[in-house]
Assembly symmetry: C2
Homo-oligomer: 371 residues x 2
């Protein structure tokens, strides 16, 4: 297996698996093996926005008037969001582009990662507005222990997959002949996509709860407007990884990946469990100097459990926490769901975008899931 | 040298070179070592467009009414553009993201590659409109010998750089200690950026001449509107690679790259020379069944020489062809230059975007070039 930026071998991309087939040559969108990814691209393009469109003028004085414990919550949350989107702005491209083998998924990966760079640009826009010296905030992201220990778990699967990919191409490993390596790198891919789903579908949503809780009290509303746009994108991103994972688990795309998904079910669920645990610890850190009206460590931890269950169900896993209703029902006012829906009646997709936080997605909803 | 999607070592990105320093960790835009790249990002974002915005309805019948030799010119030109943007949509990300070490350049690379995916989407939009079976067109891109032999020269430098990068990370090569490898991979980077500059600043402009020549006769004007938007983006892209190359040659960013640029001057100029030769052969192929009003193989070849000289001068190389004025002066009507200019008076940039095709850029204009 060697890599070329334009494989000259003639192939039919409609017959390639999502990953590990022949690398994409012609970028074409007249036909798609999985029209779902083309729909995600179209949605993402229709969502295009720039941070500068959002007026942040009232946030500055509101931020300086916040009590110290709330400033800590607000700015720490932004630092964590900055870390997560720093990773997401590059990693889908670095880790997945060298492996992808169908054009609509390749372009979805690039469109997805590009939109993360817009998110990163937002944080600079927001931070520059509220603090005199943004460097103090940005520099802290790599020195603050609470942040950096989260950096490890959001990057370790990506980094392992990238290392295996470099090894594969550097040594021209023939995946058809090296069963052990093939299984190893496919497992790394599967767990990476799980870990990215957890990053976007759980970690980010916990951070959104913090952002929106200020705006629920009519504070930092410029910030909330930006985060609302980010959340609208995020609903697409998490649908992307959910659908990749479900396609893998189904086995029609690549039977071996279905086997890997089965064998690694516990490993996958553990990624969810550990992330939920970390997010709960993070809630303790955020609220260490006191809680705020409408949000405290305990409610945020309940939300972590609630959202983790929702995301597990979307992957047809059993919930790992006690069943509960959404402890932050006002979140639904901030999570735009109506325009995220991609017409589910279209014959070629029987799945649909399940981005909204309160979607009651149970196994039965996927009974005819057949992308 | 190992790779991580978020290097946890604290560093000051303002002191990193463009490439081969510590991989970027925090995506931040509050400070830039090279504000030029941040300005490119802002321009590119302000240029955002979608192919569906352009009405192509009159092109369909016009295309079917074209004589066979003109249909051949039109569709072959689109195939070549599709090849070039298929490569450009992925390769800046695949080849450069694993090596870049300053955030504004990293985000420029991603923004740049993303905009190429919009270009690729345009070709599907155009081709779907004019032919009943787009597959015949797209499939031909990997089987048509005239196209595929061009694919080799637009990918070979990218592919070599990617192979060396995979090797470097797979073997954890310490660039500080392995002088020979370091020089080898830096040379590959330099020649890759030269080759990308040639792709975007010469090959694409030759293809633009063909697209616009139809519209000069009031034919295929929908197509020309799309290509005009592509050309507007392209002016940014070529400025990006020109500025990277000039920064490398100056040596302030990385003294060793200046040495490499000097030692590889002939190799770099040969990339220009070979591409010009290929584009002239391509002109023969396009016009093999006859020329059209306003454009024939001979004029297009003159344009190849003219534009090659212009691009060489922008890199402070001597022209390799006879000096001539623009043989296709009407091109300037299609190449929007006014809004491409980035305020040159700003103190931190004394260079500026030199995207417009007719810019009279001589060595003297770069006397105070000091990014
Ligand atoms: Ca995301
Ligand atoms: Ca380009």
């Amino acid at each position: 297996h060697t890599y070329s930026t334009f494989c000259r071998a003639n192939n039919d991309a409609m017959k390639e698996p999502m990953f590990f087939g022949q690398n994409v040559n012609v970028a074409r969108y007249d036909q798609q093996k999985y029209p779902f990814f083309e729909k995600l691209i179209e949605k993402q393009l229709s969502f295009f926005w720039r941070p500068e469109e959002v007026d942040l003028s009232t946030d500055r004085t509101e931020y300086s008037d916040l009590p110290a414990n709330e400033q800590h919550i607000f700015i720490s949350n932004l630092k964590y969001q900055t870390l997560l989107d720093s990773v997401q702005g590059r990693s889908p491209n670095v880790a997945l582009l060298p492996l992808v083998s169908i054009p609509e998924l390749e372009t979805w990966i690039e469109t997805w990662a590009f939109s993360e760079t817009i998110h990163s640009r937002s944080y600079t826009h927001i931070i520059r507005n509220i603090v005199a010296n943004p460097s103090l905030v940005f520099d802290d992201i790599v020195t603050n222990e609470e942040i950096t220990k989260r950096a490890i778990s959001v990057t370790e699967h990506y980094d392992e997959l990238i290392a295996l990919t470099n090894y594969m191409y550097a040594n021209e490993i023939d995946l058809d002949k090296d069963d052990e390596f093939r299984k190893k790198i496919k497992t790394a891919l599967y767990l990476t996509v799980v870990s990215v789903n957890v990053l976007e579908a759980i970690r980010f949503y916990v951070s959104f709860a913090c952002s929106f809780s200020f705006a629920e009290r009519s504070l930092m509303e410029g910030n909330a407007k930006v985060i609302k746009l980010i959340a609208r994108d995020e609903a697409l991103h998490l649908s992307g990884t959910q659908n990749m994972l479900n396609l893998m688990a189904e086995g029609k795309d690549d039977p071996e990946l279905a086997e890997i998904a089965r064998e690694n079910k516990e490993a996958a669920i553990n990624i969810f469990r550990e992330a939920a645990e970390q997010e709960k610890q993070w809630a303790e850190y955020l609220f260490k100097d006191g809680s705020m009206i409408g949000l405290n460590a305990s409610i945020l931890k309940d939300y972590v459990e609630y959202i983790t269950n929702v995301r597990l169900k979307a992957l047809r896993f059993d919930p790992i926490f006690e069943n509960r209703s959404n402890p932050l029902p006002w979140m639904n006012n901030w999570l735009v769901s109506d325009n995220v829906q991609v017409a589910p009646q279209e014959s070629e997709i029987s799945s649909y975008l399940v981005g909204q936080v309160d979607s009651k997605v149970g196994a039965e909803d996927f009974s005819d899931f057949d992308l």
